[in-house]
Amino acid sequence: MDEKPTRRVALKVLGATLGAAAFERALSPLRELSEITSVGDFMQKHYRELSRDEMNAVLRRLEDETQQRYGREVTIRDVRPTEGVQFAYALNLSVCIGCRRCVDACHVENNHDRPTHQSYIRVLEMTSGSMDMEQGNTGYDHTVPAEGKFYMPVQCQQCENPPCTKVCPVEATWQEPDGIVVVDYNWCIGCRYCEAACPYHARRFNWHKPEIPAAEINPDQSYLSNRIRPQGVVEKCTFCLHRTREGRLPACLEACPTGARVFGNVLDPNSDIRWVLENKRVFVLKEELGTRPRFFYFFDV
């Protein structure tokens, strides 16, 4: 190093310093990522590629992470479908009064972000005689039911021919054998194509890290449904699969004060849902799109 301090040397040093600084700056997103994503998270395989042991390891890691980030001990299970069960849901629009109890029950059951009061259900206030759901009003705030209106709760229709799963570039969302369309929140890249593809506005995007006080967290969680979602992923109604795959009724149904909701196994000929499908004049939303929803609506006639 017997170069004299020339202009050339000074420029070299300056260049090297700037280069190192730029390199460091370029890497900073990775550093920030490591604060929200553990190595285990980063290396995790797709849900359907996990063996049972690997799945269990993932569940324990997610439980630990929930404890660290939210200060609450929770149980996260991998609840699988039952053979011979296909779910369907029906909703009686003559009986629904638009009270939004189902919206609130979903919010609580599924560990939604508290500040935005997120929920998988929106209730549309519709003008009697109209069936155009795009003209429905979700922001009504007056005594219900209002004169000349009917109320139509809309959530994921669990389509048999779902447009949302087809547009996913990474196969992070798919339809399960019991008909429920699920998301692997750890595989989702947050591109929101599925949200755009859904004709029912049923998918939600986590713009922020969900905020829930520890005391309000529902500790009964499952991997594919109500565990607290990470920031930057899409979420959706799963017919409360952590409840329904174990034979229980979904939270929105139990919350309904008028009994407008009917849920069950459509393959069971003696089920309530089958009776409704066979005896009521049911219809589906946006039938012309060919999505073949598993969610039906009907009026009493």
Partner: protein, 190 residues
């Protein structure tokens, strides 16, 4: 249109993870219980116990001892005692349309059969047949518990849980708050 199948089951690397291991049941089913509303066995007074609980008086407290007067009043306006001020908005019915004029703690069906208060469901069903039919098939009235009775029981609401038999129209009330991002007049995107 081409049939659209569910996702390829081979998509699971571990085939045993495709379905849950549900032990085969013995064919037994859990019960469907109908909730029994307190209002069918007594009235809730406006007075409170020292603990702040509303006082509940069973029908029998008065109606087992008091001999009923020979005729039921025809209108709620003439009612006195614990029943005064009763709001009655249930069509053109009179008290004896449902209540047994011989035994005030019981109801009377159109057939003349006297039934206990707790059998009110049979009484309601006489006129509200379509609602009763829907209720029998789980398509009217709220419930809790299990859709799958092989795994657990179900609790059904009684007519009187939601409808006041003297003024049965479902009350209007304020809904839960709207979503904060909801535009006032349009269905919105998440």
């Amino acid at each position: 249109m081409l049939p659209v199948a569910c996702e390829d089951p081979a998509g699971y690397a571990d085939r045993s993870r495709r379905f849950a291991d549900v032990p085969a049941g013995d064919g037994s089913r859990h019960a469907i219980t109908v909730h029994r509303p307190a209002s069918l066995s007594g009235i809730v007074g406006t007075e409170q116990t020292p603990q702040g609980q509303p006082v509940e008086v069973s029908c029998a407290t008065c109606h087992e001892v008091l001999r009923p007067p020979p005729e039921l009043p025809t209108s709620a306006r003439t009612l006195g005692g614990p029943h005064s001020g009763l709001r009655f908005e249930h069509g053109s019915n009179e008290c004896r349309s449902c209540h047994d004029p011989e035994r005030y703690d019981r109801l009377r069906l159109a057939s003349g059969e006297s039934v206990p208060m707790t059998d009110a469901l049979r009484l309601c069903a006489q006129c509200h047949g379509t609602q009763h039919r829907d209720w029998l098939h789980g398509a009217h009235g709220g419930m809790n518990g299990h859709w799958d009775l092989t795994r657990g029981p179900r609790l059904r609401n009684h007519c009187v849980d939601c409808h006041d038999p003297h003024a049965p129209a479902f009350p209007r009330f304020r809904p839960m708050p709207p979503p904060p991002d909801a535009p006032r007049r349009r269905a919105d995107h998440g």
